[in-house]
């Protein structure tokens, strides 16, 4: 009764499975990955304190851009207010460490969980909105949450801010701690995106991004998939926010519920290539290094520079670097595949 491939018939493999990288290609990847790993681990040992701090910031943005990419690039939902989970995570760490004397890593875990739960609760209602309306709603949620945190001043310190316990250790040690912490979080984010991109969740999200009705009649539970995607994205963002709180040691609601920061990570994801695995990392490094190297000195004009970059990205590379490169490479690969078939 089967149209194709009953369990007996698909034993014979008429077609090779999905294209797998050749051994040479795989070896090349391993070498590149090893080099990157060494490059990533070394900085605290040979760079100045200033640069270690700058790179820690880069890693943080790369992690955030990867997290927002799950929504923007895969599910196609412009979660412009995603920074709400960053703030939620940051304040979770602050409150737990200050009011309940928990250790940092316990507080950090709680930050990730709380942010994820928050997204899961909001998700079923808010993810009914599509496109920009969802984006606007998330901006609203961010503002409302920020005000909530400000008003719960007994718990959070309110508008006066709150001091988070300092890292117990020397300056060198502290620098290394936060560097590796952010590196770890970035690796976690990128790894998560990589896993998503290869499994059913990734396929389901890409399908619903293209067409929700089409995806749903193919068996994709679009409601659940969207909520799962947002929950993961929020959890990662919450973790990074929690780490940031400990790093910064002083929190005020406007610092961590900053919509500018949110849009920045969004631009990073787009710049690098939304929906790719390493695009957002590339975008984050490019944008942060650019502003740090060239205009970072003019502290006053930081936002001006960011604004100009935003406008230029939208005007000239709305598809992002990686997609640009990917399309070129993809074209080549397809041509090559055709040649192979012609030979055989």
């Amino acid at each position: 009764m089967s149209v194709t491939g009953s369990s007996a018939s698909h034993q014979r493999k008429i077609h090779p499975p999905a294209p797998e990288p050749s051994p040479a290609r795989r070896a090349a990847w391993v070498v590149v990955a090893a080099l990157l790993a060494v490059l990533a681990v070394l900085p605290p040992f040979y760079l100045s304190g200033y640069w270690v701090r700058v790179i820690t910031g880069l890693l943080m943005y790369a992690a955030l851009a990867s997290a927002i990419n799950i929504m923007v690039g895969f599910a196609g939902y412009p979660a412009l207010g995603n920074i709400v989970f960053f703030g939620t995570g940051a304040y979770t760490v602050a409150v737990l460490m200050v009011k309940y004397n928990t250790g940092f890593f316990v507080a950090l875990a709680a930050a990730g969980v709380l942010a994820a739960v928050y997204a899961a609760l909001l998700g079923t209602a808010v993810l009914r909105l599509r496109g920009a309306y969802f984006g606007i709603a998330t901006i609203g949620i961010n503002h409302a949450t920020s005000e909530l945190v400000t008003n719960l001043d007994r718990l959070t310190g309110g508008g006066r801010g709150t001091i988070v316990p300092f890292y117990p250790g020397g300056i060198e040690e502290e620098r290394m701690f936060f560097y590796y912490l952010m590196l770890g979080l970035m690796v976690l984010s990128v790894f998560t995106v990589w896993v998503i991109s290869r499994n059913r969740l990734g396929y389901g999200l890409r399908a619903l991004k293209a067409d929700q009705e089409g995806a749903s009649v193919m068996g994709v539970n679009t409601t659940r998939y969207k909520v799962i995607a947002w929950t993961i994205s929020a959890g990662l963002t919450g973790l990074v926010g929690g780490a940031y709180a400990y790093w910064l040691a002083f929190l005020e609601p406007p610092y961590v519920f900053d919509i500018t920061m949110s849009v920045k990570t969004y631009i990073m994801a787009i710049l690098g290539g939304a929906g790719t695995v390493i695009g957002p990392v590339v975008g984050a490094f490019a944008l942060e290094l650019l502003s740090e190297l060239i205009w970072g000195r003019f502290l006053e004009a930081h936002m001006l520079v960011l604004g100009i970059v935003v406008v230029l990205v939208v005007l000239f590379i709305p598809q992002g670097f990686m997609n640009l490169v990917g399309r070129l490479l993809g074209g080549q690969r397809r041509r090559r595949a055709k040649e192979v078939r012609a030979d055989g």
Partner: protein
């Protein structure tokens, strides 16, 4: 195997949009293994009926039974997993995915009730693409296809679910005569392999040629039902839809 037992049953199927009934009190039965044609003028409610069957919109009233069990209120993904697949009149390929990935979706998420692993789904997708004649374009992207090939892709995507019931919403619209004939052959092949088919089509020759039975809808109501020849002679159908010329041309 119980030939010709009702597989899908609709009872008093009704759907309102605002105050307007798009589908009103339609009863129908689809027997296992048959090809059921749905015809009627534009706006008669054919696509709405298909949307109701596939769960994209909920019933306002009535009930729908698959194998005697109600599927009323189930979301589209559950209905897909029960083995009801469909195509869309306006094709909905997943942009940014290759043809193989497009077709693999149905297998990955709905085949055998819960979907099969990604690798297996991609493999199956290759076989289905071969069946519909797109085997040599597996790694192309959907925006590289013309309309005829997109229609084939749409069909392949539905087939990858390994459906029990296949809903075809105007898969032949916009195709030339030769392409229509080829697609008709394909539909017959699929049906011969045991898939029950419900088909909406405006190409009269095609739908008369492939349907075992036809239901005619007019303003949301069923006005006729029966074998193609009988329906083509029905007075109500002729005045509402077919017109004199068709009936005379076909008539004895």
């Amino acid at each position: 195997m119980g030939e010709r037992t009702p597989l899908l049953v609709g009872r008093g199927v009704t759907r309102f949009f605002g105050g307007v009934a798009a589908v009103m009190d339609v009863d129908f039965e689809v027997r296992s293994g048959e090809v059921l044609g749905l015809i009627g003028p534009n706006g008669a409610g054919k696509t709405t009926l298909m949307n109701l069957i596939s769960g994209l919109i909920p019933l306002s009233r009535g009930d729908m039974l698959l194998d005697g069990r109600s599927i009323k209120g189930l979301p589209p993904w559950d209905i897909a997993r029960l083995g009801i697949a469909r195509t869309f009149q306006i094709v909905k390929p997943f942009a940014g995915m290759t043809l193989r990935e497009n077709v693999a979706m149905g297998a990955m998420f709905a085949r055998e009730g819960r979907g099969v692993p990604a690798r297996e789904a991609l493999e199956l997708a290759g076989e289905v693409l071969e069946l519909v004649g797109l085997g040599d374009r597996m790694n192309s992207y959907t925006d590289e296809l013309n309309i005829a090939l997109r229609k084939r892709l749409e069909l392949a995507r539905a087939l990858a679910l390994n459906p029990r019931i296949l809903l075809l919403d105007e898969v032949m619209a916009g195709l030339n005569l030769k392409e229509v004939e080829r697609l008709m052959e394909l539909v017959k092949t699929i049906n011969a392999r045991g898939v029950t088919i419900i088909v909406i089509e405006h190409v009269m020759k095609a739908i008369m040629g492939i349907s075992d039975r036809i239901i005619v809808l007019h303003y949301g109501r069923k006005i006729a039902e029966g074998p193609p020849q009988a329906v083509a002679q029905d007075e109500n159908v002729i005045t509402a839809y077919l017109g004199r010329r068709f009936a005379q041309g076909k008539g004895a």
